[in-house]
Symmetry: C2
Subunit: 111 residues, 2 copies
DNA sequence: GTTTTTAGTTCCTATTTGGAATTTGATAAC
DNA sequence: GTTATCAAATTCCAAATAGGAACTAAAAAC
């Protein structure tokens, strides 16, 4: 089965994951919760390629999780912000945050 | 940045996602919470290729999220079960479940 | 008119995935 | 003993996706 077919799956979890379950999307959302909003901020923070970042942002806007709006004219510059729909995913990220802190301590160099 | 380098990221969310943030892993965990435990059950339910499924299960066992144990000898057959560490990810799946129910209604044929 | 800033797009290569068939190890039927 | 079956994978190849760097665009600063 192709990943893209999951959006009509019988299971709500699968349908949700068809949008946010991919490699970088949840990290973009994490950044949004941390207050980041600009393309370059995401690019630097996350480390995904601009190519992938561009695709993910587009999808997140299409699905109403993020909102794209111009924050200045001439030249037009856009920023991305969580919608209320997007904010509802916050608790999942909190679970991952706590889980990571507890179960995945950072490996130290020359540890 | 490569996905595999995330496991030492400064952010606990990123570290967690380096394991469970990929395409099919969270669906395997969903299945585990639903009581499924065998390779063939996952394969049928999730629709991922056996190749990918095999890789994901291996990683989940290596990271202590699932436990692999023989449920019969001659021939040896294995099943996978959530560890307590794995069970702690349940709340995240619940968030996705509720979010999917609310925001991603199933498209009906000829809708 | 060259450089800078921000937000992407394009190009090429390398990795990963999808899908089907095959393997492995053991039992059961013939 | 060979054929069939089951569960749990592994292997193969073509196709899709990602990684990385360079390039484009539009206006402003110099």
């Amino acid at each position: 089965m192709k990943w893209s077919e999951l959006d009509d799956n019988w299971c709500p979890v699968a349908r949700t994951l068809s949008i946010v379950g991919d490699r970088w999307t949840l990290l973009i959302l994490r950044d949004c919760f941390l207050g980041r909003s600009k393309f370059e901020e995401f690019a630097e923070s996350i480390g995904a390629t601009r190519h992938v970042l561009s695709n993910r942002l587009k999808r997140l806007v299409e699905t109403g999780i993020l909102e794209k709006r111009a924050y200045q004219q001439r030249p037009v510059r856009y920023e991305y912000a969580l919608t209320s729909k997007g904010k509802e995913l916050g608790p999942a990220l909190e679970v991952f945050l706590k889980w990571g802190r507890k179960h995945m301590p950072v490996r130290r160099a020359a540890g």
